[in-house]
């Protein structure tokens, strides 16, 4: 089973776990991304997340498909929040179930790496001093995606 949700509301991981198929999956790996507050000198007030409806879902579906081609995974659920998010709030959840743990770990990490560098989301930081700016894409995220083409 595979699902993709883009939503403004917070998500509950429990809700997702209830969706997981019980049939012979031995490993569940989940990743949760959280809004950090102290990356810059200027204290952050909140993040605003923009996305491109329908294209976002399409891209995430493609990313999950790439993972399915590569690893034997039984289900995968992605939830990505958009809109205004405060420090400490959860932004993204990727949850993967597989028979074996290695597949679940690698697929989850792969999906996160691709999601960060391919899915059409854009973050804008709003600082406590009233200023704001769009977050710049990080070279490190491109590097982390890149390693999946060199491995194995």
């Amino acid at each position: 089973m595979f699902s993709i949700k883009i939503q403004t509301a917070p998500f509950s991981q429990k809700e997702i776990k209830q969706k997981l198929p019980a049939h012979n999956c031995g490993a569940i790996v989940s990743f949760i991304g959280i809004v950090r507050g102290f990356d810059e000198k200027e204290p952050l007030d909140y993040l605003y997340l923009e996305h491109f409806p329908s294209v976002t879902e399409q891209e995430i579906e493609r990313i999950i498909q790439l993972a399915k081609n590569r690893w034997d995974i039984q289900s995968c659920h992605v939830i990505h929040r958009v809109g205004n998010l405060k420090i400490g709030e959860e932004i993204v959840l990727v949850l993967t179930a597989a028979t074996h743990r290695k597949a679940a770990f690698e697929a989850t990490e792969f999906i996160m790496d691709y999601l960060k560098s391919e899915a059409p989301f854009w973050k804008k930081e709003f600082f406590k001093n009233g200023q704001s700016r769009w977050v710049k894409a990080k070279q490190s995220d491109l590097n982390e995606k890149g390693r999946w083409s060199n491995n194995d």
Partner: protein, 82 residues
Amino acid sequence: MIKIRYFGFLKDILQIEEEEIIWDKGNSQDLLDFLRNRNASWSDALAEENIFRLVINRRIIYQSTPIHTGDEIAILPPVTGG
């Protein structure tokens, strides 16, 4: 007419969210060249490194693609989600 949509920082720097322009023929590369030729700030904003991908009718394109009247084009800057 074609519709062009701008996302992320492009929207702010160009001070435009979407626009409609007359477009007779040409591909996505021609459209980018046309927009860059508007003036220096368009040329800077739409520099190669500021464009992640183009989307035509909600489909991401990976190479230069013909654009037809009625198409919706979106210009996506490098993404920063997750």
